[in-house]
Symmetry: C2
Subunit: 239 residues, 2 copies
DNA sequence: GTCTAGTAAATGTCTGACATTTCCACAAGC
DNA sequence: GCTTGTGGAAATGTCAGACATTTACTAGAC
């Protein structure tokens, strides 16, 4: 794999890191491949060696690359990637072609975790948390009708789940929710929402909201599970 | 807070990053405080500005610091820390004086998550997973008697929990377990194990192992909950 | 008083040189 | 023939200095 296939670069080291990372996430290089040298990258994108090094430092920190003085830069295998690294999370945003294996793993995680989180939220939610959930749900409702508002609907959907994690009032879960944002977005974009299934999805979200509002922990748990069952159907994981 | 209270530094930028990060994790600086300037740090530890910048880049990536050209470096509040960053995980290893707020948050997360993980493990565990759990438990048993084997016992304890996460056969949970390693270690070191409580802890771990071996998901869930109740008592969170 | 220009101080960036590590080839010695 | 050592090439790692950019503060003009 050469650099020629990549789009032209514009901006600082962060942009360059994002560009290279997404190329790696899309599988443009195979694990074990040697990555281009610093000087070549710098020459190709017309940036200083400093910028290249800063970018490569990020990719290395995320477990995508392995660098050794004298040998060069190697591409690591998927199992070594730091999926929960915030940088990864950022790079995955807007990336639609996720590995199917990864999609299933993330779904399975959410199916096991999110009911618990919803239960915690029902216990710990405060007024502002309820407000966030309500406004996200209202956004989902208002953007449910039209087809062109699909992106907007996805935003509100993600906001709803994020608000749920946040309402648990646990530092770790909250971060988890933040990190899962792009994954959830990818799942939503993969799931084909027809209008009838959309109504069903809305109804299930509403039950989560109501249960949290009523401080009904076990109700929130089962409602969250129902939301994810709906997601599974839309994803084609089950029928 | 000045730099004078910190131990002397020896090694590269990673060592320096670790040193500064641990000082931050221990709460030596308050959120909002200004962090020492690059040149001062370099002078104090007798390292080049480059090393300092590399170290500070890591701390910034982990959400510990916020740097702005012209203003300087500020310490961010605990809610902004990237607790799930692998770097954090590394820095927390061997650190016994964790922020109490952090200890409670991590414990609360484990109390909500680990039962679910144990349940998944009971469903998905394969022969090698059971083996890992068994050998970890055997190590815990053999090192339970003597006082001098306390560090060894902690190792096996951590290995047991790690094996549980791994047995869930979910990529995300597995990484989660890996990231939680140092936190779990810190929790174990904080908990004062007397010999009588240690027997109790062992018995509860055994129940988790048995439930997973018998593919008893709900049994594993409640057993894992019991293990964490024991931990809570040892931590002094509850009586 | 208020706005503005200027100045100091901090982080960000570029550049070139040098250090260190690794691999490879080639030759010497047993 | 096999090992061993030695040297050079190539890659990343480190350093030092100058310069750029951003920010906050201050002094002065009006």
């Amino acid at each position: 794999m050469t650099l020629d296939a990549l789009p032209t670069h514009q901006g600082g080291a962060e942009q360059l890191a994002r560009l290279l990372a997404q190329a790696l996430l899309a599988g443009h290089w195979q694990p074990g491949d040697v990555f281009p040298r610093e000087l070549d990258i710098g020459k190709h994108f017309a940036v200083s060696r400093n910028q290249v090094r800063n970018a490569l430092t990020s990719l290395t920190a995320a477990g995508l690359l392995e660098r050794t003085a004298g040998r060069g830069t190697l591409v690591r295998e998927i199992g070594d990637w730091h999926l929960l690294d915030p940088l990864m999370s950022e790079w995955m945003t807007g990336l639609i072609n996720l590995d199917p294996q990864l999609v299933r793993a993330i779904y399975a995680f959410r199916y096991s975790a999110e009911p618990v989180v919803a239960g915690l939220a029902a216990q710990a939610a405060q007024a502002e948390d309820i407000e966030r959930l309500e406004s996200a749900f209202a956004g989902m409702e208002s953007s449910a009708g039209s087809v062109e508002a699909r992106a907007e609907h996805a935003e509100y959907d993600v906001a709803f789940h994020d608000a749920t994690y946040r309402a648990s009032h646990n530092l770790v879960w909250r971060q988890m929710g933040h990190l899962l944002r792009p994954s959830i977005m990818a799942l939503i974009h993969r799931s084909q929402h027809r209008t009838d299934t959309l109504d069903d999805s809305l109804a299930r979200h509403r039950q989560v909201l109501d249960a949290i509002r009523n401080r009904d922990a076990s109700g929130a748990e089962s409602a969250a599970r129902e939301v994810l069952r709906r997601t599974a159907i839309d994803l084609g994981i089950v029928n």
